[in-house]
Subunit: 144 residues, 2 copies
């Protein structure tokens, strides 16, 4: 169904503001860790989806292949990831998350969760349940 | 109250993913307009809050004063904004949104709303009302 322009306007506004706050809070959190915002995004993908090629990672990140290569070079130099050759097809190289990278990404995510837990503290269980349902719905629709 | 770690984990994940999609969709939309992502953020603040000094704008954008100055210089050159001297205190200079800037920001926002309207099309009125309530609650808590 078609929803009212006023309601769409309100939801676009609130989503834009929430995204802005999350972005800024995310940067503040990262300033306490030895990784940059694009490195966080890359590590997060490797953590969630496992080893992937530079091509796959650049698609996920909407970055040029060359930019992703530079990003991976830097992370490899810092001991966060390593390049691994496919055993069956030696021409294929995948990026693999190392323990140091895994530890950092998990600590960053824990800090983000602690921030969110604090934000939601004063809300009732029912309100948080409803929020989880609405956000899941929105995420699902955005992916369709 | 303290909410379950699983629920907090889920909400952090979904919010992070939704923000990522909004960021990417926002970039796609901007690629059709003659402004950059930071220019969009600046024009959006000037549109919502009216004239402000470079210092005020740099605070809103979490950017260094010098970076904001460069941004405003570029936007002034492109006819999107102008610098106006305060009539009462000539030492104070404020950035003022010009018609060209206002038209562009409104068109960008309309395109974002059209995207969102499309996303929410298959949801019922009740679901969208609930989503609006949950997002407003979250935004309010984040601003406290």
């Amino acid at each position: 169904m078609k929803h009212s322009p006023e309601q769409i306007k309100e939801i676009e506004y609130v989503l834009r503001k929430i995204s802005g706050i999350i972005k800024q809070k995310g940067r503040e959190i990262l300033s306490e860790f030895p990784i940059t915002p694009p490195q966080f995004v890359a590590l997060q993908w490797l953590n969630e989806e496992g080893d992937m090629t530079i091509g796959e990672l650049s698609n996920k990140m909407y970055l040029a292949f060359s930019t992703t290569t530079d990003l991976v070079d830097r992370m490899e130099k810092n001991g966060l990831v390593e390049r691994i050759r496919d055993q069956k097809d030696r021409r294929v190289v995948r990026i693999h998350l190392l323990n140091k990278g895994k530890e950092i990404i998990n600590e960053v995510l824990e800090t983000r969760r602690a921030y969110l837990a604090h934000i939601l503290e004063s809300m009732s269980q029912e309100e948080v349940n409803q929020m989880a349902i609405s956000l899941q719905q929105l995420f699902k629709k955005m992916n369709e």
